[in-house]
């Protein structure tokens, strides 16, 4: 258990806490620490606690820190060890075809750090040698092409910031409020700056035949994950990317090459991309028939529901970040829409009776996470905190009741409903749904 650093400095003032930087007195215990018994140093410190800082200098202010390249790649502070992707072990049969969730409760910007980007694999994470990776474009084209990673890096490059969301994000809350956690209810969305080549550039290079209307995009993983995409979308804003937040893609995100289909469901953003084939008709692959289709109450199903509708969530307070007594708080959250830009976010503290327009934080980018905030004086009484996004097309985020009225509760995917957090007088927060 790790206390929240924003709310308490208990970790930093507790000399026995793991990861506390070594101070002067800790040097006395250094011998013991080096022989593998850190506890000895810690115990000594408890018996003779350091004078409080301030007025005292903190131990790390009176000692010398670690040198450069002591961590040649770098990593978060040891005290951030709880901020990790997490999974729901009972959800899937195997970890190789499963998901992990981003810790949204501990993230403070629109960019998801690369190590915290949510995962969805269907046949595990392959470890690909980029020197051997090949990318093929063929089918209804003039000039079928085989490219190495070196070749791809030579094409004119672009960088774009876009979110990717698994359409099953929130799927566990279709039927009822199930996951008492922001991470597990909303953590299958992440956002990064992607760098690569516009797919339209590559399609110009191969030359499209007139009859080409659809593209089949396929991965090099064991699932040979494949989906059909209409050509219009491919030519509009799709990217074939090799970099994520300025460095090579992470293996979990498709290293060395992935497709980014801005604003469309995560599954079509094929990772470990190895092939694009142009055709006249869609393929109706398993991932667009058996899965990623939305079952309606009348027994029919919707297919090719690619768009991520507008969605928002309050990230503070949330079940993981309760309130610390009455006072002034900044309600914070994230909003996004596959339609383009977020236009407005409203926040309610009374379960949707009254709404207040929040401040959008710059930058507000198309098909990217957007931050919002609203100051709030909490009087310590029960509250129902929720956010509602309106996007640039005028689309308004629905309530779960409105969604269920249209789609029942068996459609698994595309639950973009308003999230309500119940705040109790003791400041604790719970995931609830309103009638």
């Amino acid at each position: 258990m790790r206390p929240d650093p924003l709310r308490s400095n208990a970790v930093l003032s507790d000399p026995a806490a793991p990861g506390t930087p070594m101070g002067r007195r800790s040097f006395l215990g250094l011998g013991a620490a080096l022989t593998g018994s850190l506890a000895v140093g810690g115990k000594t410190a408890i018996a003779d606690p350091a004078p409080e800082s301030p007025p005292a200098d903190a131990p790390w202010s009176q000692s010398i820190g670690a040198g450069v390249v002591e961590r040649p790649y770098g990593r978060p502070a040891d005290t951030e060890a709880s901020v990790i992707r997490r999974n729901v072990p009972w959800l899937t049969a195997s970890a190789e075809s499963s998901v992990s969730f981003s810790p949204l409760q501990d993230l403070h910007g629109i960019i998801t750090p690369n190590g915290l980007f949510f995962e969805r694999h269907h046949a595990g994470r392959p470890d690909i040698d980029p020197a051997q990776h090949k990318f093929m474009i063929h089918g209804l084209v003039e000039r079928p092409l085989l490219l190495s990673m070196k070749d791809i890096l030579r094409f004119p490059s672009v960088s774009r910031i876009h979110f990717i969301e698994c359409p099953a994000n929130g799927g566990m809350n279709w039927r009822a409020a199930q996951m008492n956690s922001l991470q597990f209810s909303h953590g299958m969305v992440s956002c990064a700056e992607w760098t690569g080549v516009k797919l339209s550039t590559l399609l110009e290079e191969v030359g499209l035949k007139k009859e080409a209307k659809w593209a089949m995009v396929e991965g090099a993983d064991g699932a040979h994950m494949n989906r059909s995409l209409p050509l219009d979308k491919c030519l509009d804003d799709c990217l074939v990317v090799y970099a994520q937040n300025g460095e090579a893609l992470r293996p979990e995100q498709g290293y060395p090459l992935r497709l980014v289909v801005p604003g469309w469901e995560g599954n079509v953003n094929i990772k470990w991309l190895r092939r694009i084939k142009l055709g006249e008709k869609p393929w109706h692959t398993r991932e667009e028939t058996s899965k990623y289709t939305d079952l309606m109450p009348d027994g029919t199903s919707r297919g090719f529901t690619w768009l991520i509708d507008a969605k928002s969530v309050v990230t503070f307070p949330c079940p993981e970040k309760p309130l610390d007594g009455p006072g002034i708080y900044e309600i914070r959250g994230l909003a996004w829409t596959g339609n383009g830009k977020v236009k407005r976010v409203d926040v309610s503290m009374d379960g949707g009776v009254n709404w207040h327009t929040a401040r959008l934080h710059e930058p507000v980018l198309s098909k990217a996470l957007t931050r919002f905030s609203l100051p709030w004086r909490w009087d310590g009484r029960p509250a129902l905190v929720a956010s509602r996004v309106i996007d640039e097309t005028g689309y308004v985020q629905p309530t779960i009741a409105q969604l269920r009225a249209q789609r029942g509760s068996n459609s698994v995917y595309h639950n973009n409903s308003i999230q309500t957090w119940q705040v109790k007088p003791d400041g604790s927060v719970f995931n609830v749904q309103l009638a």
Partner: protein
């Protein structure tokens, strides 16, 4: 490992110098990077099959009997001897008529619209520990076996590129392939949008014990 550093600078320079002429470049092969994919290279990777009409299905065939053999060896451990699914692994049979139920069971038998998609998926993704290692004949045989477990074909059925597209799947006509969204209309009301007395919590995640912990090491909880 590849290095981009050596090649990026000259290319940038060339593009700058030739920006005018390259801006509208749409001729195939303008950049000339990589190589034209040969028929043999394409054939090796060109595995996709179109669900609706089976375009792309290779030569070969397989019987239900042969399928049962391969299935027992390579599939039953996860999917159950008769497709009933072990543990949380997917069922490959059942659920017929369940799609409007409180707890629907979508399977090959109850949900899949196209039989060639089954061949394609087994070929590309199964068996899970060794995907894309089966012969075309064995994939046909497995497809025949799973279809017969679902009473979609008779026991004598032989699966091949001609017979598979003709198998009529039960849920074939129940998909709508154009997205009807937006399907919710809401006006962004600001004040007195609902009667405060009517605001009622209909469900809460409190006390459900389904949520893994979000601090400390990864949770290993299983469903109670």
């Amino acid at each position: 490992m590849y290095s981009s550093r050596k090649i990026c600078l000259p290319v940038a320079a060339i593009l700058l110098a030739a920006a005018g002429s390259l801006a509208g470049a749409a001729e195939p092969g303008s950049f000339g990077y990589g190589s034209v994919a040969t028929p043999a290279q394409i054939a090796g990777w060109d595995i996709d099959v179109r669900g609706e009409d089976g375009t792309g299905l290779p030569p070969g065939k397989g019987t239900v009997d042969r399928g049962a053999e391969v299935y027992a060896e390579q599939c039953a451990a996860c999917h159950g001897t008769f497709g009933e699914g072990e543990g949380r692994f997917p069922k490959l049979v059942g659920g017929v008529g369940s799609l409007r139920d409180e707890r629907p069971e979508p399977t090959v038998g109850s949900y899949w619209p196209f039989a060639p998609t089954l061949w394609d998926y087994i070929n590309r993704a199964m068996p899970m520990p060794a995907p894309h290692t089966l012969s075309a004949d064995d994939v046909y045989a497995l497809t025949a076996y799973i279809l017969s477990l679902n009473d979609l074909v008779p026991y004598e059925f032989v699966a091949d590129r001609n017979s598979l597209p003709k198998v009529k799947m039960r849920n074939r006509d129940n998909f709508i392939w154009t997205d009807p969204r937006p399907d919710t209309m809401a006006k962004p009301c600001m004040n007195d949008c609902v009667n405060a007395a009517d605001v009622r919590i209909s469900s809460t995640a409190e006390g459900r014990n389904l949520t893994p912990r979000t601090t400390g090491p990864l949770d290993t909880m299983q469903q109670k």
